[in-house]
Subunit: 206 residues, 2 copies
């Protein structure tokens, strides 16, 4: 693209570095900012810079937090012997939205993915293993995406804590609530038949 | 959405002010920045701030430009008696990419749109009318989008310069090159039949 302004070109180049945003979208966004009051751009860049420069992670669960220990870990009403292993903050938010979970979390910060150059050392796995080896954890719930990378990560952690006195579970896979059977894929439908549950327990939390 | 961090919430709120970006996408973008080196966020916010604070428009055609007069207006090889009226920079870039136009531009900065509260006073129409009234312009090409707002703006400008010694033209509407007739809408197809051109001239620029 041939821009008439170097400043504009720089801004478009930087914005198009963001995932899923190409040059055209970047240009649209930047031109939008130009039509808005200068304060909006100031607030936008300040908030991004502030977040990036003073970002803090909970020293317990590695979730993003402004305080040393996040709200969830600091809450005495939550069961700290129950740990849900998730990929990132978005999964914590999704599970919190269900209001069905009262334990702690452990945010890995990603999944083991050799293709993207992410090994176990890049994730906060060692601190999780340490926590489990201390013996205060009774159950570890794996709640990673059901992909090859997610399964690999689950299995890696499972191997690391072998022999520890801890129950490991994984969230149920099955047909989504409200879904029609005929449109479900075979793997999911197959699993949901294999791991069927007593009818009485399906009545509990609905 | 319930964020664990105030800084994160601020950043997501600011990013989601951009057009076409909701809270979820904003969160995805912000979390991406957190995984990148801090320099990327610094460059991003600096470039946006710099652009917004020191943005400059060509005093002749109102296009975005780092210099007082933009490259196109400053180019002595371009015909300044030919003015193409466009909405914004993107249209200039699109027309420049065709390499078929050697005149000047006039960037209006939008279209007359009462629904969005944009009247003729918000656009750079008066300077265009002034330019035409000086008598140095021989042809005015309307190249606005073919929407109600575009047509209104064309007509408004047309009325303003009535009586001036200037030819007004509009870019041709018709079937896109490579398109199949059966999928074209009736209005476009109808216009392309009404405004048919001699076969010889269609051979020239292909």
């Amino acid at each position: 693209m041939d821009f008439s302004s170097k400043l504009l070109e720089n801004a478009v180049n930087e914005v198009s570095q963001l995932p899923g945003i190409g040059k055209r979208t970047a240009l649209r966004l930047v031109l939008h900012l130009l039509k808005q009051p200068v304060e909006q751009t100031q607030l936008l860049s300040q908030s991004l810079l502030q977040l990036r420069e003073s970002i803090n992670f909970c020293k317990n669960c590695h979730n993003i937090s402004d305080t040393e220990v996040c709200e969830i870990c600091a809450n005495p009403n939550r069961d700290e012997s129950l740990i849900c292993v998730v990929e990132d903050l978005r999964d914590v938010m999704a599970i919190e939205n269900t209001s069905q979970y009262r334990g702690h979390y452990h945010v890995l910060g990603g999944k083991i993915s050799p293709m993207d150059g992410i090994g176990p050392g890049d994730l906060s796995i060692s601190s999780l293993v340490e926590k489990v080896k201390k013996g205060t954890v009774s159950e570890l719930i794996f709640a990673l995406s059901s992909t090859m990378e997610g399964d690999t990560t689950n299995f890696y952690i499972y191997k690391q804590i072998e022999g520890c006195n801890v129950t490991t579970t994984t969230i149920a896979r099955g047909i989504s609530v409200g879904d029609e059977l005929e449109y479900a894929d075979e793997v999911t439908l197959g699993r949901s038949i294999l791991h069927r549950i007593p009818f009485e327990s399906s009545l509990k939390n609905s």
